[in-house]
């Protein structure tokens, strides 16, 4: 069985995000880029399924500019068999990503598409769900446990009320939550081996998917600064202040 992993390159989670002084964007020049942590978890899960004998091939795919190749080699170093690079100039929005992934799905016919529940740059949490809807297949989002038996996946999902268990018929889309697994470290010799693993490049346009934003972003701003509130002098005043805010 083949697993397709959508593997996005994002600004590293450690980077202190700076909005450009003119509000036209976030400073990305010279800033460290890394695999989306949730996508690393997705890739790890796919690799474990392969190691368990459930899957036979793990294909890692990214949609990004030409220099995203190194990012895909990272995925190959982690253990993916093959990589697909869909090249496009500017960052794309989730609906476009879902449409592009659908094209890959139609060609590759994977039994599972697995990706992170959200990307830590745009925090949209849409792509996996949109892909499932466009594909007409099930989705199991925010997965914290995945069990595959034959053509059925039993997935435990982290929801607000606790843990929900659902069953989906494959092929299906799974999106990963933080507690699903801990991704493996990459070993130096594997970085060497990754250089010779197959990496296919295809343009977004050639897939028949239009780039371009569905929604325009008209401004970027830093978060509102919290400022000092009121000081109360004792517990009764505190309780009164909380009641006044409708919190008690």
């Amino acid at each position: 069985m083949k697993i397709l992993v959508a593997y996005k390159r994002v600004v590293d989670y450690n980077v202190r995000i700076q909005v450009k002084p003119d509000g036209s964007g976030v400073v990305t020049e010279g800033v460290k880029l890394s695999p989306n942590p949730f996508d690393d978890i997705a890739l790890e899960e796919a690799l474990r399924l392969r190691e368990k004998g459930v899957a036979t091939e793990v294909v890692v795919a990214t949609i990004g500019p030409a220099d995203a190749q190194a990012h895909l080699r990272n995925g190959l170093a982690m253990g993916a068999n093959r990589a697909i690079h869909v090249t496009t100039g500017a960052p794309i929005q989730p609906l476009t990503a879902a449409r592009a992934l659908l094209k890959l799905v139609e060609k590759e016919q994977p039994q599972i598409v697995i990706l992170g529940k959200q990307a830590i740059d745009d925090d949209c949490s849409q792509t996996g769900q949109m892909l499932a809807a466009l594909w007409g297949r099930p989705q199991a989002t925010f997965a914290s446990k995945v069990e595959i038996t034959g053509t059925v996946a039993k997935v435990t999902r982290e929801v607000d009320a606790g843990l929900e268990v659902i069953e989906v018929d494959l092929p299906a889309v799974i999106t990963t939550d933080l507690r699903l697994n801990e991704p493996r470290f990459i070993k130096l010799p594997d970085i060497m081996k990754a250089k010779s693993k197959p990496l296919e490049t295809v343009t977004l346009e050639s897939l028949g998917v239009e780039s371009g934003d569905h929604h325009k972003v008209s401004a970027y701003a830093p978060p509102p600064k919290r400022s000092k509130g009121v000081m109360v002098k004792d517990v009764p005043e505190l309780v009164a202040a909380l009641k006044a805010k409708g919190l008690l």
Binding site: Q126, A133, D160, G229, P236, L247
Partner: protein, 313 residues
């Protein structure tokens, strides 16, 4: 003029108060009508609750055995079928709404706005990116439908109105898939709300002094029905397990109420709570940085204040 459909979230016969918050956001979108859709096996009770909310003009109750549990694959085609009459389709930014709404958008061939935190008009919204470290203003094309989720922590819940809106049964023409099946819901391990999603959180810092003393934090949290967190210093000192750590290297949370007890407010901790609705700080040191960002601050000995506070609640 906008015509808005809100997809209601509910559980165990109770309307989730996220619906009332989505409603508050919807009211800022220049709507001539705001309607709520309730999908359930038997929607009557929930629909009645939704009808009470101030500003709701109609409730559409979609009864179907398949709707007994909220499954995105089952609900999305139904929402999409109803959506034809509306300019906006909104859901809450809860796991329910996040799971469902992108499917609705994709079925309608539309993009989606996640996590609206501020409404500037029917087609102009602010939302957080980079874990809230930047805020963007998004412009949706006026000629297309707006599909969106609304951030819980950013809107107060609308209360009940003077009269109830009409509740109408709605039948929906949609083929429902069978490829997704609900098995079970295991409620959270403890009775205490999960730290990551709790509406209220009480946290203890190093000043609490010991793992035994942390009991007073738990007691207060239970009185408030709150989740419990800890600062890194408290976790490092062994007073609390590390899955309770709130902050840059722990959990980043956005409860409506955050009570920081004996926490100095180092920037690393503040990163974890910067989106909280109201921050209350209790600390012996009046110079502690937490007071610079706390909405309500009380300087004093936590060992005297917390028991007193618990009594007063």
């Amino acid at each position: 003029m906008s015509k808005i459909l809100i997809v209601a979230e509910h559980a165990n016969g109770q309307l989730n108060n996220s619906t009332a918050k989505v409603l508050s956001a919807a009211k800022q979108m220049g709507a001539s009508a705001i309607e709520v859709a309730v999908f359930a096996a038997d929607p009557a009770a929930i629909a009645a609750q939704a009808a009470q909310l101030d500003g709701v003009t109609r409730v559409r109750a979609v009864a179907n055995a398949a709707n007994a549990n909220a499954l995105a694959a089952v609900l999305a085609p139904q929402v999409a079928a109803l959506a034809a009459d509306y300019t906006h389709v909104l859901g809450p930014s809860t796991t329910f709404g996040k799971d469902l709404m992108p499917c609705v958008a994709a079925l309608l061939g539309e993009a989606m706005v996640s996590d609206i935190m501020k409404v500037h008009g029917a087609h102009r919204f602010e939302r957080p990116i980079y874990a809230g470290n930047a805020i963007i203003t998004v412009e949706c094309p006026a000629t297309r439908k707006v599909i969106a989720t609304v951030r819980n922590a950013s809107f107060a819940a609308t209360g009940n109105g003077a009269s109830a809106a009409p509740v109408e049964a709605a039948s929906v023409n949609a083929t429902l898939p069978s490829h997704t099946r609900f098995i079970e819901l295991k409620a959270g391990a403890s009775d205490r709300p999960d730290l990551q999603s709790a509406a209220r959180v009480v946290s203890g810092g190093r000043a609490v002094g010991s793992a035994e003393n942390f009991a007073i934090i738990y007691k207060l949290a239970d009185k408030l029905g709150a989740g419990v967190g800890a600062s890194r210093a408290a976790v490092d000192a062994g007073y609390a397990p590390n899955d309770m750590q709130v902050g840059q290297t722990g959990k980043i949370i956005a409860p409506e109420l955050y009570v920081a007890i004996g926490i100095s407010g180092a920037i690393q901790h503040l990163t974890g709570i910067k989106d909280a609705g109201t921050i209350v700080a209790i600390n012996k040191d009046g110079e502690a940085p937490i007071f610079e960002v706390a909405d309500i601050g009380l300087v004093g000995d936590l060992f005297k204040i917390i028991p007193e506070l618990e009594q007063a609640l």
